[in-house]
């Protein structure tokens, strides 16, 4: 993606700095801890690169700093619980949707259909609030805007991490050879 090169560069720089600062390269961490450390660093890099303007980046940064304190205690990976709950919610929504689609709509049930549509939308908005960081305190309209911004930034983060990954994996041999 060509867009927002500066943003991606900022993310990359933040990510590398963050990883270095956390001492991720040290060997005394288990793989699991290292993975969560990398993820935290990536999220922090994203939030920092994005700035304070959107609501989600502030909430994300707040969550991360809260998570830092929680990490001192051997807390169970809260973020691991985070995904399955949303997965189940998503599955529930799609299952309901399939069951709802099967029902034939008649004119008599037009009003019921409206109510149903509203319920469906409300359920999905709730799911979206869970997904987007900081989505709890937002109204529908801001939520959509934040989702937009968040999705774009996530895409940039993913691209940046892929780039970093390839940069780390591929040219290592020539680098070492030249030393």
């Amino acid at each position: 993606m060509q867009g927002s090169k500066q943003f991606k560069r900022a993310i990359l720089k933040n990510l590398v700095l963050g990883l270095r600062k956390r001492g991720v390269a040290s060997r005394d961490m288990s793989f699991h801890e290292r993975k969560s450390a990398v993820r935290h660093a990536a999220d922090a890099a994203l939030a920092a690169a994005r700035g304070t303007a959107p609501c989600w980046s502030r909430s994300l940064a707040a969550e991360l700093s809260r998570g830092q304190d929680a990490q001192l205690r051997p807390a169970t990976s809260a973020s691991e619980e985070y995904t399955p709950r949303k997965m189940t919610m998503c599955k529930r929504i799609s299952r309901r949707r399939r069951s709802i689609r099967a029902r034939p709509k008649s004119k008599a049930t037009a009003k019921a259909a409206d109510v149903l549509a509203r319920v469906m939308v409300r359920r999905r908005t709730r799911a979206l609030r869970d997904i987007v960081p900081g989505g709890r305190g937002m109204d529908e309209c801001t939520l959509l805007g934040e989702t937009l911004d968040y999705a774009v930034s996530l895409k940039a983060q993913v691209d940046t991490m892929q780039l970093l990954l390839r940069a780390l994996q591929a040219p290592k041999n020539p680098m070492l050879m030249q030393q």
Binding site: S4, K13, A42, A151, R166
Partner: protein, 450 residues
């Protein structure tokens, strides 16, 4: 600063659109055919992409003709932001992937519509108009100032909306006089949309004030922009209720619909879906898949990590970034301990090539990557890059995958990669176990065993 909310209506167009190309016509068409934001008629919109025959909108075909002469006079205030943002829009639409060659070619045509019109606003100004500046929270590991906001079309678009609500009053006077930069462009791009009764569009009027009397003029008219400060005016549509409540409700609904439109254009495969709930479904799936990709990539980065000397790596990454972007943050200074100074040139070149490749290319182009690797004579990277690119490309473009499918995809890809990469035997066995442990949450058992 009052003029800035409307600056974006006018400034953007030329640079982003002058670079429209036929290759991007499809993407542009997609964007153009999607319902436009109800932007005011009188504001200059970017000229539609150069496929007048295909475009269903009543936008003026002579725009492409005017686009050509405007190519040169374009001296856009935010030069790189617009192309970047426009390119982002291009890249984001599903059909833009159909034009791989246009990856480096700009943009703009895509803009066609409304939100590239909003791109012109320099993001810094947009941010200033946005939510009040809070003291940036200090995420622990990131001392980087990150001065520039991303040139994000959607963000700027939202900024426009926010800004309009933040500064209601002086907005209106500036609107009748479209701001200078492309005056001929403005004329060419005026949207001849007689059907658009809601003259305010997103321009920033909330119909929530006590000026109900003014608002209740029935449709008919052109854009009578009321210029009373401190009132936000809404033009009532024909045959619709005109009390303030319903107007406010309507304004809110229009806001939400506009955002939904943007989201539909962002998420691949969403434009065919009709209905808010289904679109939201797709959006949720998309965001969740992105989050899962981040998880997966962080896992892979963690796997690679022990072999990486981040100290040296980030120093030349920073120098590269610094050289490229001209950033002079203090982080570049305190990373003086360059571990590989003499090979910096060669390695930098590699990384530069990599960067350019990934930032200009697309993941779905394994042949480019393969050629890059072959230049250096590496044996296995073509394998992994091909498989990963193909897998990723496939995965990213399909929005219908379920969670489990994506996980399985990642797992298989990871296993392929681990076999072809240089991870040692024990390590990759461990990693495979760890990966399965993530799914079944028995990582502790795994660690105990190993």
């Amino acid at each position: 600063m009052a003029a800035t909310p409307f600056a974006f209506f006018t400034s953007p167009s030329s640079p982003s659109l002058t670079q429209a190309e036929p290759a991007s016509a499809h993407a542009a068409l997609d964007l153009a055919s999607a319902p436009r934001l109800p932007i005011r008629n009188r504001h200059c919109l970017p000229p539609p992409p150069p496929h007048p025959s295909l475009r269903p909108n009543p936008q003026t075909p002579p725009a492409p003709a005017s686009a050509a002469p405007m190519r040169h006079p374009s001296s856009p205030p935010p030069p790189q932001e617009l192309p970047a943002a426009g390119a982002e829009i291009q890249a984001l639409t599903p059909s833009s992937s159909a034009g791989p060659s246009s990856s480096t070619t700009p943009i703009g045509g895509g803009g066609g519509g409304s939100f590239t019109a909003l791109l012109g606003l320099p993001t810094s100004q947009a941010m200033e108009l946005l939510l009040p500046r809070l003291a940036p929270p200090a995420p622990a590991p990131a001392p980087a100032p990150a001065p520039t906001f991303p040139s994000d079309p959607h963000l700027v678009d939202r900024a426009a909306r926010f800004s309009t609500f933040a500064s209601p009053s002086p907005v209106s006077p500036s609107s009748p006089s479209p701001t200078p930069p492309p005056p001929p462009a403005a004329n060419a791009k005026r949207k001849a949309d007689p059907g658009d009764r809601t003259s305010k569009g997103k321009a920033a009027k909330k119909g929530k004030t006590a000026a109900g009397a003014d608002e209740s003029k029935p449709a008919g008219g052109g854009d009578g922009e009321d210029e009373k400060p401190a009132y936000v005016h809404v033009r009532a549509r024909r045959g619709q209720a005109t009390d303030s409540h319903s107007l406010a409700e309507r304004a809110r609904r229009e806001k939400i619909n506009a955002r939904m439109e943007l989201l539909k254009e962002l998420v691949p495969g969403c434009s065919k879906v009709s209905g808010t709930a289904l679109v939201l479904d797709e959006i949720i799936n998309h965001v969740q898949s992105l989050q899962r990709q981040v998880e997966y990539l962080s896992m892979r980065l963690a796997a690679v990590n022990p072999r990486v000397d981040f100290g040296g790596l980030d120093s030349f990454l920073t120098t590269e970034c610094g050289r490229l972007a001209g950033l002079n943050c203090k982080n570049g200074i305190d990373l003086e301990q360059v571990t590989w100074p003499e090979m910096g040139v060669h390695g930098a070149r590699h990384l530069m090539q990599l960067q350019q490749q990934f930032w200009h290319g697309d993941l779905a182009h394994p042949h480019q990557v393969a050629s890059q690797w072959e230049k250096r004579g590496d044996g296995h990277p073509p394998v992994f890059s091909n498989s990963s690119s193909s897998l990723f490309g496939y995965d990213l473009t399909s929005s219908g995958k379920t969670c489990m499918q994506t996980y399985i995809l990642y797992l298989t890809e990871f296993i392929c990669l681990s076999f072809t990469s240089s991870i040692s035997g024990l390590d990759h066995v461990f990693l495979s176990f760890a990966l399965s442990g993530v799914f079944s949450k028995c990582t502790d058992n795994v660690k105990r065993v190993l």
